[in-house]
Symmetry: C2
Subunit: 249 residues, 2 copies
């Protein structure tokens, strides 16, 4: 296993950071790495907003569900799907591109482009000895987030990436079994075998929580997922995305 794969496979989230900001050089390195990622048909449908203003960071931490490390990390990046740029292109070229910009296909491109860039950023940071944590919590209240970040129409903040000097690392959570994620030639699973695999995985996850919490918690993966999905989080999203002019047609 080479050092790169070692770094990739050793990833764990960091939610406790030392009180030390990233240097301008580190930020530039991380953003440049993000930009080196592949982008669908060269569309480059994403933007990154780095938040250093203390009041804004405090507000973002609140909006993301009171996650204090959003405020205390070394640098907080917000990755956005961005088709505003192509609206400007349409003005510059004098051609109406609205239907494409507002299509589900281009919404998907924005999400994929932003996530590919973000994972490059994350690994770039980790290779410098920094810790990272993705913050999907910003999607709890995107109206508020957009207000803080002053994003225009056709831009949707997707997730944060908190980066900084790690004070404490999480443990690695065991992932779904390899053959549950990876199929050969076709998505062929006997429904029974599929459930047997999930039951096996449940045992692994339950044991993981049991050990980590000294017995206080021992829920399985399927329990955790069903409780989470039952709560119907962020059901405003469809309207929100369409209000912003994406995923409409």
């Amino acid at each position: 296993m080479n050092t790169m794969i070692n770094l990739i496979n050793n990833h764990r989230s960091v939610r406790h950071f030392e009180d030390k900001p990233l240097s301008e050089e580190q930020i530039q390195m991380i953003v440049t790495s993000a930009q080196a990622a592949s982008t669908s048909s060269f569309i480059q449908a994403y933007s990154i907003i780095g938040v250093t203003d203390e009041a804004k960071k405090k507000k973002l931490a609140e909006l993301a569900g009171n996650q204090s490390f959003v405020e205390t990390c070394g640098h907080f990046f917000v990755f956005c799907a961005d088709l505003h740029r192509h609206k400007v292109v349409s003005e510059m070229e004098g051609i109406n591109l609205t239907e494409s910009i507002e299509s589900t296909e281009k919404f998907m491109v924005g999400l994929i482009d932003a996530a590919l860039a973000a994972q490059n950023a994350a690994l770039s940071a980790e290779s410098m000895g920094l810790g990272i944590c993705y913050v999907g919590g910003i999607r709890n209240n995107l109206h508020g987030i957009c207000e803080v970040l002053k994003t225009p129409e056709h831009v949707i903040p997707l997730f944060g990436l908190a980066v900084g000097y790690p004070a404490r690392e999480n443990e690695q959570k065991p992932r779904l079994p390899y053959h549950h994620i990876y199929h050969e030639n076709e998505y062929e699973q006997s429904p029974n075998q599929y459930k047997v695999e999930l039951e096996e995985y449940n045992k692994t996850i339950s044991a993981y929580y049991h050990e980590r919490t000294s017995g206080k918690r021992a829920d399985t993966w399927t329990e955790q997922m069903s409780h989470m999905f039952e709560k119907k989080k962020r059901m405003y999203m469809k309207d929100f995305v369409q209000e912003k002019g994406l995923d409409r047609v």
Copy 2:
């Protein structure tokens, strides 16, 4: 700059491969790296299908717009957003989770999870000296792709990742200016400045094509984008995604 960042920043797509399949060990390494990526709230809403069957590869190459390297690469992976798994969870736990599964929020989670995993896979492959190319072309005809890969409801193939021994590498295309992608504290751009930056970038891209094609081509980025968006590609996507039971509510 460390070796990891060097590898990230030197990425270029490879569309010409030697006739040599990946080993089982390489495939496992790549998939394991994919699984090490962060996943939103531990949802793990993606699957990977590796295609080795010759007839299937040929069909996928056709469906992706006659991209022959889909057939000739060392291994072809298809990354899918996958909420089928959570439908099975719902059966196992006896709780109706349909509304969450079919929400725009979970559709976004599927896309983001799959893309984060894919970028880990891509870098893992590149660190082994292999070349990669993302293939968004599979979205030209997802009905056909789903038939070949036998994907169930709530699963959407998003893009392919062709991996193999590079026979020829593309050049790196210059990316949008740093400050066009990266904003500080808020998305604040004067519309004029924004256009000036794009005009500057147009010169860079035009010069890039001019040199690369010995003068046969010199289109700018905004021209390229407006022609592409004017064509309204893949406008069936909204209906398709909803037929498959995602992004409905």
